[in-house]
Every structure is written in structure tokens, then in C-alpha cells.
């Protein structure tokens, strides 16, 4: 499509942008002038520009979704902004040149004035707004077919998994279905504790996860392993004997432990994370429903491995308590069951409880945009939210990947948007209800 210009008077964009003082140029409709719906204008930041020009950006979405633009690490929604002005788009002279013999429509001026030709009148342009990745769908997809004991057997029977791949997603499948950047998708998978097995991203069925952890703990006792120094190789080979594939054993260490050091060769040393192991058992216990606090604590202490000391503050973001008469009851309300999107999350929160005290609400509404240190927050507890605007302290509350991700909105911004805050007296705890 790019040939020599058939008309040497054609100056194109260049002639407009570099028009000499005291000179003129004719503006005309291009010989290919038309609606050109396939030409679009996209306004971008300088920093995004580099990403796009280096082909590190893509549009993602299903036909029924509004497309988003993703860079490596961020997601942007695309907004069309119309204009009532006439925006004449003028390409360089060597673009959009058809065969020279196009029949001529308009008459040409006889003078020798240079011409710049308008290819289309742009009705507006697209703008990008950074948005949270749309990760709720990810959980939905992965929950269709969680990994369980049957999968383990199928691996042995060669190729039998080839039969039924419904509800199974490879990385590429997910990229084409989830509106999130690669980095955000990865951290979404991490927060769902998903693992890649035989090319498919899976989450483990709760019972299965429980089985692996118990097998690991059982083997720790049998083999006299220290919970602070688990050899990855040993764990994998022993769990394999018990019927757990190595990816699963490795994943189990990742879910319930932290890497201590790289160890020798490719072997790594892991330490069990007391909190995560305790939380696992608390969840299992509370699966049965609401319990009296005392009974729950008794059972919890009994269930966790020896040497671990469960305390209720480990369960932040996992449980809620309520007082019925003099009894305190505890029940499961896990942040991992809440949606990422703030509107939906707040609606579920207020369905659960019409009124929330700050200490209960706080774990569920943290935004990863800015964290307040809890100490800092306590000192300013009784002041008005907006007065702490601007003073931002970073990471101090445990940031979790289930935090709300709303670009440009801080925790207090979220609260202002979705809650109504009341405080009967100056020294009373503030209470939040739905807006």
C-alpha cells in the first residue's frame, strides 16, 4: 500500500507540522478519504507509549466484554471520548497511497501550492484508565474442576486425561479469558493458591489439600523432620511414595511454608508457616458451622501439630465472632471467599452484617494501593478519615493478595465511597454501614 506518491505536490503531515513562516499549504480531502472505521486514535501516556511501541501491550476480553488494554503489569479500560469538533487526520505523504490511476473526483487547483490530504475525520479518540484486573472470573473458572484424588490416579494411566479437558485451563487459555495483565494474572493465581500441573492451572480441592498437609505432618513425625528445616527433595520423594505427585508436594510446601534458603544444588530448605498451618485447621473445624469459642479453641489446639500455638489473632480475615448472651460464638468468614471487585465485596459484607466495627471490617477492606500501619491508624482512630488523607504509610498490616485492588483509591477512599461512617460519641468506636 505504500508506494511513491503519485502527486509530488502531496506534502502530508510533514508539510503541515513543518510549515515555513510566510507560507501556505492547501488542505484537501485525500484521494482515499472515507470513514475508515478501522483507523482509531488512542491517547497514551509517555510511559505507556514505550510499552506499546515495543509490542508489550495487548487487548484482552471476550466478545461480550468491553476490551481492556494490558501491559506486562497493568490493566487499562478503554473509553471512547467523542468530539463535536472536526478532527482532520492527515497521514504522512507516503502512507495511504493507492494506485496512481485512481479516477479523480474533485478538480485540482492549478497553482503549485503544496497539499496535505485528510484521510478521515476522527469522531473522537480512545482513552485509557487504569483499572483493577478482573480476576473474579479466574476463581470461577478454576473452581469448575479442582484437582483431587482422581486426577492423581489419572496421571498414571497414560493419556487418559486427554479424554476430558473441560474445566481445565492452560496459561494461554486464561490469558484469552481473563482481563488482567500477565503480572496480575500470576498474582491472581498465586492468591488462589493455584498450581500448574501438566500444563493446566488448577486449584486443589479442600479435602485433597487437607490430605497432603496431613500426610506431610504425619511424615514429619515419622521421620523426625524439623518444621524449620524441611528438605524439599526428601519431602517430595516421601510424599510420592504416599501417592502425591511431586508438583503437589512442592505446592504444599509453598502453601504452608516459606523457603528458608536455596540449600545445596537444586534442593531447597523450607520452614512451615505456623500461622498458615493453624489457619488451615481452624478452617477445617469451622466447616461444620458456628461454634462456641471455648469449644472451638479446645479443638483447634488439639488439631494443630505439636509445638504450634494457635491464637485467635491468626484468624484475622478468616472468622467473625458474635456474642449471644454471655457466650461468644465463632464462625468462618474468609476473605478468600470474597470477590475482588469492591462494589460486590461491600455488598456481601453488608449482607453479612448491616453494621461493622472498624476492627472487624478492616481485614476485609484493605486496599493494596496504600497500607496504614495499624499503630498509626490507632492513634488517629478518632479523627475524621479525610484528615489522614495524604499521610500515607506503606506496608505494615499484613498485605495479602486478596486485598482490594483499585487503582487510585486508597482504603479510606474505598470506605468513603462504599460506606457510611457513624460515631455516636467522640470516644466510641466508629461504625460502618452501607451507603
Amino acid at each position: 500500500m505504500e508506494f511513491e506518491s503519485p502527486d509530488n505536490r502531496e506534502g502530508g503531515a510533514d508539510a503541515i507540522l513543518n510549515l515555513e513562516p510566510n507560507s501556505s499549504i492547501s488542505i484537501a480531502y485525500h484521494q482515499c478519504f472515507g470513514p475508515h472505521d478501522n483507523l482509531m486514535l488512542l491517547e497514551v501516556d509517555e510511559k505507556l507509549l514505550t510499552d506499546i511501541l515495543h509490542e508489550r501491550a495487548s487487548l484482552r476480553g471476550q466478545p461480550d466484554e468491553d476490551a481492556v488494554l494490558c501491559t506486562q503489569s497493568k490493566t487499562y479500560s478503554i473509553k471512547f471520548v467523542g468530539t463535536s469538533n472536526s478532527v482532520f487526520l492527515i497521514p504522512p505523504s507516503d502512507q495511504f497511497v493507492l494506485d496512481g490511476n485512481l479516477q479523480e473526483c474533485g478538480k485540482k487547483d492549478s497553482d503549485e501550492m503544496k497539499v496535505a490530504s485528510v484521510i478521515k475525520v476522527a469522531p473522537g479518540n480512545m482513552e485509557l484508565v487504569e483499572v483493577a484486573p478482573r480476576l473474579d472470573k479466574l476463581k470461577l473458572l478454576l473452581s469448575q474442576n479442582p484437582y483431587n484424588i482422581n486426577d492423581t490416579f489419572e496421571i498414571d494411566e497414560l493419556d487418559s486425561i486427554g479424554e476430558d479437558k473441560s474445566g481445565l485451563y492452560t496459561w494461554d487459555n486464561l490469558v484469552s479469558r481473563i482481563q488482567a495483565s500477565d503480572t496480575e494474572l500470576r498474582s491472581g493465581l498465586e492468591s488462589l493458591l493455584a498450581v500448574e500441573i501438566n500444563g493446566y492451572w488448577r486449584i486443589l480441592e479442600e479435602n485433597y489439600k487437607d490430605g497432603v498437609l496431613n500426610m506431610l505432618l504425619h511424615n514429619m513425625v515419622l521421620n523426625d523432620w524439623s518444621p524449620n528445616a524441611l528438605s524439599e527433595h526428601e519431602v517430595i520423594s516421601v510424599l510420592k511414595v504416599d501417592g502425591y505427585p511431586s508438583e503437589i508436594a512442592q505446592h504444599c510446601l509453598q502453601i504452608y511454608g516459606n523457603k528458608v534458603d536455596e540449600g545445596i544444588g537444586d534442593n531447597c530448605i523450607w520452614r512451615l508457616d505456623e500461622r498458615r498451618v493453624c489457619v488451615h485447621f481452624a478452617r477445617r473445624i469451622l466447616e461444620g458451622g458456628k461454634m462456641k469459642m471455648e469449644r472451638f479453641m479446645e479443638e483447634w489446639v488439639r488439631k494443630v501439630p505439636d509445638g504450634m500455638h494457635p491464637t485467635v489473632d491468626m484468624l484475622e480475615g478468616e472468622i467473625l465472632t458474635e456474642k449471644l448472651g454471655i457466650e461468644t460464638w465463632i464462625y468462618s468468614f474468609s476473605i478468600s471467599s470474597l470477590p475482588f471487585s469492591p462494589a460486590e465485596r461491600f455488598s456481601i459484607l453488608f449482607r453479612e452484617r448491616p453494621k461493622w466495627e472498624w476492627k472487624d471490617l478492616q481485614p476485609y477492606v484493605r486496599s493494596d494501593f496504600v497500607y496504614f500501619s495499624s499503630a498509626f491508624f490507632n492513634t488517629l482512630h478518632y479523627s475524621v478519615f479525610t484528615s489522614i488523607h495524604g499521610k500515607r504509610l506503606h506496608v505494615s498490616l499484613l498485605p495479602t493478595s486478596r486485598d482490594l485492588k483499585v487503582p487510585g483509591l486508597t482504603s479510606e477512599g474505598l470506605l468513603l465511597k462504599y460506606t457510611r461512617r457513624t460515631q455516636p460519641t467522640m470516644d466510641a468506636e466508629p461504625v460502618f454501614c452501607a451507603r
Partner: protein, 139 residues
């Protein structure tokens, strides 16, 4: 579905396009409505070394200036590429969409004033000559 945004020109070499923007709509005379190609819209003139411009459309003159865009604008072209791995059944529907960056816009020449009628402009020369001597009447 993932559509890669491509840039065949490469960074730094992305050709610069221009925008001439004015308020309202330019309407061609009805005899030209269906045949706008190659028709002159007006004449852009830079009367001095400053970045001020005039655009003369018919009897009207617009005053404007060259302004840098706050953020650059990319010209994207949507292409339908036939999919290589066509399946026999529905070869017609199997095309892939590609987005190609074909240009970048950093400046526009913006005319935000209402047009001034050239005819009513006081001229030092004899009045009756103005109408006929106007050289930039389109066709």
C-alpha cells in the same frame, strides 16, 4: 481473545501524523457531497514565525495555533488476518484481528475561534473588488 498490539514501524520511527482541528462541521456544497476525494477544504497559512496559523475555508477565515498534545495519540489500524490454521468447516469465520500502530500524533493545529467572514473584513482597497479577487474560494 487476545489481540496483540503490533508496531511494524518500530520505536522512534513511528511516522508522525498531523491533526487539523476546528469547531463545527465543514460541509461541502451538495454537488460535491458524494465525491469529496481530492476536493480542497481550505488553505492553511502561517503568517509569521510564531506558531499561529490561519485557515481559510471559502469566505471564512479561522485563527488558530499549533499546540502540543498533552498526551501523545497513536493511530491504530485494525486488520483482519486470515487464520493460518483454517479448519474445513468454517473457513470464512476464522480470521484473526490484529492491531497495528501506524502513526503517532504529538501536535495539532487547533482552530478554536468562530470563523470570521472575509467579506466583511475592512479592506484598504476598493470594496467592490473584494468578492471577485478572493483567490481561495473553493472550486
Amino acid at each position: 481473545m487476545e489481540i496483540k498490539v503490533k508496531c511494524s514501524c518500530g520505536e522512534g520511527k513511528c511516522p508522525e501524523w498531523a491533526i487539523v482541528e476546528l469547531q463545527g462541521v465543514v460541509e461541502a456544497q451538495s454537488s460535491f457531497q458524494d465525491c469529496l476525494q481530492n476536493l480542497q477544504i481550505g488553505v492553511l497559512c502561517r503568517p509569521s514565525s510564531q506558531e499561529n496559523y490561519t485557515l481559510t475555508v471559502g469566505y471564512h477565515e479561522l485563527m488558530g495555533a499549533k499546540v502540543p498534545l498533552k498526551k501523545p495519540m497513536l493511530v491504530l489500524k485494525k486488520l483482519k488476518v486470515p487464520d493460518e490454521e483454517e479448519k474445513d468447516g468454517d473457513s470464512s469465520s476464522s480470521s484473526r484481528v490484529e492491531m497495528d500502530v501506524i502513526g503517532i500524533i504529538r501536535h495539532k493545529i487547533l482552530f478554536k475561534t468562530r470563523p470570521k467572514a472575509l467579506i466583511s473584513k475592512p479592506q484598504p482597497i476598493v470594496k467592490e473588488k473584494v468578492g471577485s479577487s478572493n483567490p481561495i474560494m473553493p472550486n
